[in-house]
C-alpha cells in the first residue's frame, strides 16, 4: 500500500541546512588542525628546473612544505581506470605533485601547511619555482594527428582512447540516400561549478593507526580504495567520510592529488590538516565535456534517417584521472539518441592536451552526444523544409519496439516517446509560437523555437550497476537504512525513508538513513550515473523486502498466526483477522531476542543485507522545447519560455523529481548560452573566476514548465528510472536549436555553443553571404570536407 511513495513529502534533509547547521567540508574543525594551500603550475607545459622552498619554510607559522621529492617512495601516482578503448595504450599516471614537468596550468606542484589559512596562502607566494617553458598542445584536432609530438613521451602518442560503435553498411546507405548532410559541432569544456568547491580534512590517529579523510566527494568508497592502494595501507586502516556536500554534478567523482597529499601530510605531522579549494583552483583543475564532432547523416526525402556517421575527438586533458575516460565511453553509444536509425558508424578518439583532466559532468557523454545528434536532426529538418517536430516524430522509436537495441549497441528497456512529445508541444503552445515567428517584422527581435528529444540511461556500467544496502531494526524499534550512495542534494534520505515507510509500515520520520561513510558498508559506488534510486534505492528496496519478510515471520511466530495474515502498519505488526492482536517493532525485536529466535551470532537487533545488481539500465526520455527571442542588434538570446516533459518511471517523491528537472534544465541553458572554459594560445585559462565564467542567474532564465508521463521500467524492482541527468541531456540542445531556428529565419546556419551575444551577432553579420553558403552538401554528394562554423576567436 503506497501511503508515502508518490507523495511530495517535504525533505528531512532541509531543516539543519536552513538553520545554517549543515556540516560541509570547510565547517569541520578539529583540535590542533593545520591548513594547507597548494602551489600550482602557472604554465600549460614546462620543465621544472628547480623549486626553492627555503623562504616559504621560514615563513611564520609554517609546519611543512611538500614537493614531489618528499613523496617519491611514499605516495604512488594516480592511475586511470582501464576502460574499453584504452587497452593497448600506455597512459601517463597523474603524479600527486609534479616531478620533472608540468602539463597544465593548475597542476599541483607543492603543498604548504601552516597554522592558519592566511599563513598558508602567504607561504605559497614565497615558493620559488624556476620553469623552462615548453610549447603547449591545446588543439584536440592537432593532438589527434599522428605526426604531432606526444606531450608525454612515455605514451608515444596523444591518442589515449580509441572507441568504435556501429552496425550496418554505412557506405551503402550514404550512396542510396536522397540527401546527405554534414556538419561539425563543438561542445566546449565546461566547469561544473558546484557552489561548494573541493576540500579535504585529513586526520591520523597514531594510537589506532587509522587515517580518516573527510572529502567533498560523491564517491567515498572509491577514494578509500585508491588511498589504500596509492598510500600502500590496509583498507581497514582508512575511513573516508563525505560530509554535507555542496553540489558535485559529476566532478566530485574522482580521486584527487590533494586527497593523497593531505593524507600523507597528516600522517607525517600527526596533526589534522584542512585544505579548502578556492574558486579559481576549482576552475582550473578539472572540466567536463570538450568535444569536437563531425556528423554526417544519410536521409530520405521524406525525412527518414537511414544512417549516421560520427567522428568525435574528445579533449581529455593532460592526464587520465580515474573517471576521465568514462564520458567518451558513453558518448560513442549515446549518439544514437531516441531514434530508430538502423545503420551507424561512430568513432571516438580521446586525446591528450595541455589542459586539466576532464571527467563526467552531469550527463557524462549524454549532453555531448545529444548536441551532435539533435543539432544535426534540426539541420536535416531545415534543409528538407520539414518541421523539426515532424522529422522527429518520423524517426522516434515506437512504443511497441521496446526493448530496442540501437545500432550502437545500447538496449532501451521501455518508453512511450510520442505522447511525451505531444504533451510538450501542447504546453509550449508550439503552433502559436510558429505563428508569432512568422509575423515578426524586419526590425523586431527574431523568434526561435527549439526542440530536443533525448534518452538517458540510469545506473551506469559494470560495477556501478551493483549496490549494497543494509536495514537494521534496533531493540528500540528504530529503523535504520544504510546506503552506499552518497547524496548531496538529491534528497535520497527522504526518498529512501518514503520507500521504507511503505514497505515496513512505519512513519517516514521514524526512519534514519545513513550514508557517506565508508565504515557503514563494505563497498560502494556513490552517487553517480543517475544510480542513486535505480541502483542504490533498489538495493535498499530489496533489503527492506527482506526486513519485511523477517519481521512478518517473527511476528507470526511470536503471536501464533500465519504470516499471510500479518499486516505491517503504523509501526506495528498485527493480525489482519484480529487487529487487537499485534506487536510494535520494538516488541518484536525484544521478543525474538528473548526467545532466541534470531540467527546465531546476531542481535540484539535485526539486520537485513542486500546486494543488488541492476540487470540492465532503465532509460528515461525527455522532450524539451525552448522559445527564444534574439535581439538582431546585440545578438542577445533571451529565453521566453521553457517546457520539459519527461517520460520516466513511477516517482517516489514528485517534488524532489521536479526539483532535479529544474536544476538540470538550467545547467543546460548555461551550457547553450554562456558557459565555456576559454584558454589563450599559451594555455592560460581566461575564465578562471565567476567574474568571467557565466553561469545562469535567476534573471537569465524563465519560469520553467515541467510535466511528466509514466512508463515503468521492467528492469528495476519498483519500475523506477533515474532523473538526475536526463534534463541536462536535453536542455543544451533545445536551447541551441531554438537560437539556430531564430537565425535560420534569416538564412543563417548553425553556430557553436555557447551562443553568446557576440557569436550570434557575428553570425548575423553574414546573412547575405551565409544564405548561399550553408553547411550542407549538394544532394547525395560526398565531396568536400565539412564546412567549419566560423570561430569568433
Amino acid at each position: 500500500m503506497d501511503r508515502y511513495i508518490g507523495k511530495p513529502l517535504r525533505r528531512f534533509e532541509d531543516e539543519r541546512l536552513l538553520r545554517g547547521h549543515g556540516c560541509y567540508l570547510d565547517d569541520i574543525r578539529l583540535p590542533g588542525m593545520l591548513y594547507a594551500a597548494v602551489l600550482r603550475s602557472i604554465h600549460a607545459h614546462a620543465r621544472i628546473r628547480s623549486i626553492d622552498v627555503a623562504a616559504a619554510s621560514r615563513s611564520p607559522g609554517i609546519a611543512a612544505v611538500l614537493t614531489a621529492q618528499d613523496i617519491l617512495n611514499a605516495v604512488k601516482d594516480i592511475p586511470a581506470i582501464r576502460r574499453e578503448g584504452m587497452e593497448e595504450l600506455r597512459i601517463p599516471e597523474h603524479p600527486v605533485l609534479a616531478r620533472e614537468k608540468v602539463f597544465y596550468v593548475g597542476q599541483p606542484v607543492a603543498v604548504v601547511v601552516a597554522q592558519d589559512r592566511y599563513a598558508a596562502r602567504d607561504a605559497v607566494d614565497l615558493l620559488e619555482v624556476e620553469y623552462e617553458s615548453l610549447p603547449p598542445l591545446l588543439d584536440p584536432l592537432l593532438a589527434a594527428k599522428a605526426d604531432t609530438p606526444p606531450i608525454h613521451e612515455i605514451a608515444g602518442t596523444n591518442v589515449a582512447m580509441r572507441l568504435r560503435a556501429g552496425k550496418g553498411n554505412v557506405e551503402e546507405a550514404f550512396v542510396q540516400a536522397d540527401r546527405v548532410f554534414r556538419a561539425r559541432y563543438e561542445v566546449p569544456r565546461l566547469s561544473a561549478v558546484p557552489l561548494e568547491t573541493r576540500g579535504v580534512v585529513a586526520q591520523y590517529q597514531p594510537e589506532e593507526d587509522v587515517l580518516t579523510l573527510w572529502t567533498s566527494t560523491q564517491v567515498p568508497h572509491r577514494v578509500k580504495r585508491y588511498l589504500a592502494e596509492l598510500l600502500v595501507r590496509q583498507p581497514k586502516k582508512i575511513r573516508v567520510i563525505a560530509p554535507d556536500v555542496g553540489g558535485g554534478f559529476g566532478r566530485k567523482i574522482e580521486v584527487w592529488p590533494e586527497e593523497l597529499a593531505l593524507s600523507y601530510l597528516a600522517m607525517l605531522l600527526g596533526r589534522p590538516i584542512k585544505w579548502t579549494e578556492d574558486r579559481m583552483e576549482n576552475f582550473i583543475t578539472t572540466h567536463g565535456r570538450g568535444y569536437v564532432g563531425d556528423v554526417e547523416a544519410a536521409v530520405k526525402n521524406d525525412g527518414t534517417i537511414l544512417a549516421m556517421r560520427f567522428r568525435i575527438v574528445a579533449d581529455l586533458g593532460a592526464y587520465l584521472l580515474t573517471s576521465t575516460g568514462g564520458p567518451l565511453g558513453n558518448a560513442v553509444h549515446r549518439v544514437a539518441g531516441p531514434y530508430a536509425i538502423p545503420i551507424m558508424d561512430v568513432e571516438c578518439l580521446g586525446v591528450l592536451t595541455n589542459k586539466p583532466p576532464t571527467g563526467p559532468y552531469r550527463g557524462a557523454g549524454g549532453p555531448e552526444a545529444a548536441l551532435l545528434t539533435e543539432r544535426m536532426v534540426d539541420l536535416i529538418a531545415r534543409e528538407l523544409r520539414m518541421d523539426p517536430v515532424e522529422l522527429r516524430r518520423k524517426n522516434l522509436i515506437r512504443k511497441d519496439a521496446f526493448p530496442y537495441t540501437t545500432a550502437t549497441d545500447l538496449t532501451y528497456d521501455s518508453g512511450d516517446f510520442l505522447p511525451a512529445l505531444d504533451r510538450a508541444l501542447e504546453l509550449a503552445e508550439y503552433g502559436k509560437w510558429r505563428q508569432v515567428q512568422k509575423t515578426r517584422g524586419p526590425l523586431e527581435p527574431l523568434i526561435g523555437v527549439g526542440v530536443a528529444t533525448v534518452v538517458k540511461a540510469s545506473g551506469g556500467t559494470g560495477q556501478t550497476r551493483t549496490a549494497v544496502a543494509k536495514v537494521t531494526i534496533e531493540p528500540s524499534g528504530q529503523t535504520k537504512i544504510y546506503t552506499e550512495v552518497s547524496p548531496h542534494g538529491q534528497g535520497s534520505v527522504t526518498t529512501f525513508a518514503q520507500i521504507a515507510a511503505d514497505v515496513l509500515g512505519v512513519s517516514p520520520e521514524a526512519v534514519q538513513v545513513l550514508h557517506g561513510d565508508t565504515d557503514l558498508l563494505p563497498t560502494g559506488q556513490g552517487t553517480t550515473s543517475s544510480r542513486g534510486l535505480t541502483v542504490g534505492g533498489s538495493a535498499v528496496y530489496v533489503a527492506l523486502q527482506e526486513a519485511r519478510k523477517g519481521v512478518t515471520q517473527l511476528a507470526s511466530q511470536l503471536l501464533g498466526f500465519p504470516p499471510e495474515d500479518v499486516v505491517l502498519q503504523d509501526g506495528q505488526a498485527f493480525n489482519r483477522r484480529n487487529p487487537e492482536q499485534g506487536l510494535s517493532l520494538a516488541e518484536i525485536v525484544s521478543g525474538a531476542t528473548r526467545l532466541g529466535m534470531l540467527p546465531e551470532g546476531t542481535g540484539p537487533g535485526l539486520e537485513f543485507n542486500a546486494r543488488y545488481t541492476l540487470p540492465a539500465n532503465p532509460y528515461g526520455f525527455a522532450a524539451h522545447m525552448a522559445v527564444v527571442e534574439v535581439d538582431r542588434e546585440t545578438g542577445n538570446a533571451k529565453l521566453l519560455k521553457y517546457v520539459a516533459v519527461q517520460d520516466i518511471g513511477p516517482v517516489i517523491n514528485p517534488m524532489i523529481v521536479e526539483g532535479q528537472i529544474h536544476g538540470g534544465i538550467v545547467q543546460g541553458i548555461g551550457q547553450a548560452l554562456s558557459e565555456a572554459m576559454i584558454y589563450d594560445p599559451m594555455g592560460q585559462p581566461l575564465t578562471g573566476t565567476l567574474m568571467d565564467y557565466a553561469v545562469p542567474f535567476a534573471e537569465d532564465v524563465p519560469s520553467l514548465i515541467v510535466d511528466r508521463r509514466e512508463t515503468p521500467s521492467p528492469t528495476t524492482p519498483m519500475g523506477v528510472k533515474g532523473i538526475g541527468e536526463l534534463p541536462t541531456v536535453a536542455s543544451p540542445s533545445a536551447v541551441a536549436n531554438a537560437v539556430s531556428d531564430a537565425l535560420a529565419t534569416l538564412g543563417v546556419g548553425d553556430i557553436d555553443i555557447p551562443l553568446s551575444p557576440e557569436k550570434v551577432w557575428r553570425a548575423l553579420q553574414e546573412v547575405p553571404v551565409r544564405a548561399s553558403r550553408s553547411r550542407v552538401s549538394a544532394p547525395n554528394s560526398r565531396q568536400g570536407t565539412p564546412a567549419r562554423p566560423r570561430r569568433t576567436r
Binding site: Y118, D125, R279, M280, L686, M691, D692, A694, R793
Partner: protein, 291 residues
C-alpha cells in the same frame, strides 16, 4: 583567495585621512565601499600596505541641492543614491543606472566616490557623470580642487587624482528644462559589468529640435569617454530615427576599443553604436514627454 596583510586606518576626519595618506604615500589606498578593491586584493592584483577606511569620516554621505543641481557626497552608497527622493526627482536616469549596477549586496556597500576613484573602465557611474558634465571635488592634493569628469578619467584604473587626494563630493549641474535622460547597458553575463554602457541626455527646444546632447560611454574603451562627435552631429537637428542613427555612427570614432574574451573591439564598437542610438532615442522621447 586571501589578501596580503595590510595596516588598517579608520580616521574620523578628512585631515586625519589625508595625513595618513601622505605619511604612507604610494603605499596607502582609500577604502570606500571596497566592492572592487577587495576582490582585487583577494586576487593579489593589488596589495596596498595601508588601507584608509573613509567610512567613519563625518558627512561624506549626503545628498543635497546645489544651484538647482545635485551635490552628492562621495561615500553615498549606490543604494542611498537609488533611494534618494531628491535624486529621483532631479536625475531619475541616475536611479535607473544605479539599479543596474552589479547586485543588491554590492549596491548596499559600493559608493559613488569609490567607483569614480577606482575608474574601472567598465563601471556604470562614470558614463553618467560624463553625460551630466559632473564636477568632482577633492581635498588632499596640492590644493582643494574640482575636476571636470571628462578630465578625471585617464586610463583603465587611472585617474587624475594624486595619491593623497580624496573625493569629497560630486556635483551635477541642474538640467535645462525639456531634458530627457537614458542609460543603456549591455552587461557581461558573469560579472554584470558593462561590456558597453551609454548614458545620454537630450535637451529639446520648443520646436522639438535637439538643443543640447550629452553622451557618456563606458566599457567600450580603456576609459569612459564622451561621444562628442555624436553630440555635435545631433545638436540643432530633430531627433529623428535617421538623425539618431547617423549620430550614433559617429560615436567614439578613433577611440581604441577594449579587445578581450569578454568582447572583441569590433563588437564593442558595434554595441556602442547600437546603445548610443537607443539611449538617444529614449532620452529624446523622454525630453518630449512622449515616453
Amino acid at each position: 583567495m586571501i589578501p596580503v596583510a595590510f595596516q588598517y586606518h579608520a580616521p574620523t576626519t578628512l585631515d586625519e585621512a589625508i595625513a595618513i595618506l601622505r605619511r604612507y604615500l604610494g603605499e596607502a589606498k582609500c577604502l570606500a565601499g571596497g566592492q572592487s578593491l577587495i576582490p582585487m586584493m583577494k586576487l593579489r592584483l593589488v596589495a596596498p600596505s595601508h588601507l584608509v577606511d573613509l567610512r567613519r569620516i563625518q558627512d561624506l554621505a549626503h545628498v543635497h541641492e546645489h544651484d538647482g543641481g545635485l551635490a552628492i557626497g562621495s561615500m553615498m552608497t549606490y543604494y542611498q543614491v537609488q533611494t534618494s527622493p531628491l535624486v529621483r526627482q532631479r536625475l531619475p536616469v541616475l536611479v535607473e543606472a544605479t539599479n543596474l549596477i552589479a547586485d543588491v549586496q554590492v549596491r548596499n556597500t559600493g559608493t559613488i566616490g569609490g567607483a569614480v576613484a577606482h575608474a574601472d573602465p567598465a563601471a556604470d557611474v562614470p558614463a553618467l557623470l560624463l553625460a551630466c558634465e559632473a564636477q568632482v571635488y577633492t581635498v588632499g592634493g596640492a590644493k582643494d580642487r574640482r575636476i571636470a569628469a571628462d578630465r578625471l578619467f585617464r586610463d583603465a584604473f587611472t585617474t587624475a587624482l594624486t595619491p593623497a587626494e580624496i573625493i569629497t563630493e560630486i556635483r551635477i549641474p541642474a538640467l535645462p528644462p525639456l531634458t530627457g535622460g537614458s542609460y543603456q547597458k549591455f552587461a557581461h553575463k558573469a560579472s554584470h559589468f558593462a561590456i558597453v554602457g551609454v548614458a545620454a541626455l537630450v535637451t529639446l527646444d520648443d520646436r522639438g529640435v535637439c538643443q543640447r546632447v550629452r553622451i557618456g560611454v563606458t566599457g567600450a574603451g580603456y576609459k569612459p569617454t564622451r561621444a562628442r562627435a555624436a553630440e555635435r552631429y545631433l545638436e540643432e537637428k530633430a531627433p529623428s530615427k535617421g538623425n539618431i542613427e547617423a549620430a550614433a555612427k559617429r560615436a567614439l570614432r578613433g577611440v581604441e576599443f577594449l579587445d578581450d574574451h569578454r568582447g572583441s573591439a569590433e563588437y564593442r564598437e558595434h554595441l556602442t553604436h547600437v546603445l548610443v542610438a537607443r539611449a538617444l532615442a529614449e532620452a529624446a522621447a523622454r525630453a518630449s514627454g512622449t515616453s
